[in-house]
């Protein structure tokens, strides 16, 4: 792989190049193929992260952002949490882990859509 400004050169099997050549400019065809692959992979990753978030949303009955707002601002809510789940901070950290991952992958998807 070789990089220049805004471009990275990767080699593809010449047989693919031969097959793709009749479809038009090989560079454009490969760019489109890579874009489609990236969208598919990003979609898989986002789905996986949303699956990871669901148990927390169901257990605490709200999205992460609401839960975060409550634990950082609502003392009565925090006081009541312990009775429901004595280890809620563990859930909070794990939940946050997947939310931050999701945000980063959504950001990558957004970058991809701007290409």
């Amino acid at each position: 792989m070789r990089e220049t400004e805004n471009m990275t050169t990767v080699t593809i099997n010449s047989k693919y190049a031969d097959i793709l050549a009749p479809l038009g400019d090989v560079q454009q065809v490969v760019d489109e193929a890579v874009r489609r692959y990236a969208v598919e992979k990003l979609g898989e990753r986002l789905a996986e992260l949303r699956r990871a978030l669901r148990p927390f949303e169901e257990q605490y009955g709200c999205p992460y952002e609401v839960f975060y707002a409550r634990v950082t601002t609502d003392e009565d809510f925090v006081a009541g949490l312990r009775a429901v789940n004595p280890t809620w901070e563990r859930d909070f950290h794990t939940w946050e882990f997947y939310v931050e991952e999701l945000r980063e992958w959504l950001n990558r998807l957004e970058q991809l859509s701007m290409l």
Partner: protein, 134 residues
């Protein structure tokens, strides 16, 4: 050079296996920007939970718990941005620090005490000095 995160997670497991009984890895997830390890074990009659998230900036979000035989909190240490910790540390100015991660400790009565930052070794030291293993 910083220790690779995978090695840090391995170290938590190895240390837990050396000190606790019936150790199980509940969750382990390693990603480029952050990694997570969640381990449970037993210390005598107590259930022990160790949860660490290692972030690429070098920070660690942690929660360490001691639960009694009825699964009630006996003691817990964490650095979540708990409003009660913010109030204790900053008093009337706590609103300016609501999102800070503040190391603190919970007791069985759910009283909250500010602490120094904890790690697995410090938690094990606390366990050894405060609870008979039986």
């Amino acid at each position: 050079m910083a220790e690779p995160v995978g090695a840090a997670l391995d170290a938590v497991i190895t240390k837990a296996q050396a000190v606790l009984q019936d150790v199980t890895v509940v969750r382990r997830d390693e990603r480029p920007a952050r990694s997570l390890i969640d381990v449970e074990g037993r210390w005598g009659i107590y259930r022990i939970i160790i949860s660490e998230i290692h972030v690429a900036d070098g920070s660690v979000r942690y929660a360490y718990y001691v639960l009694d035989a009825e699964n009630r909190l006996f003691q817990g240490f964490d650095n979540s941005p708990d409003i009660r910790a913010s109030k204790q540390r900053y008093g009337p100015d706590y609103r300016q620090h609501l999102h800070e991660r503040i190391p603190h400790q919970h007791s069985s009565e759910d009283s909250l005490t500010l602490t120094e930052p904890m790690n697995f070794d410090a938690f094990m030291a606390w366990l050894t000095s405060h609870l008979p293993r039986e």
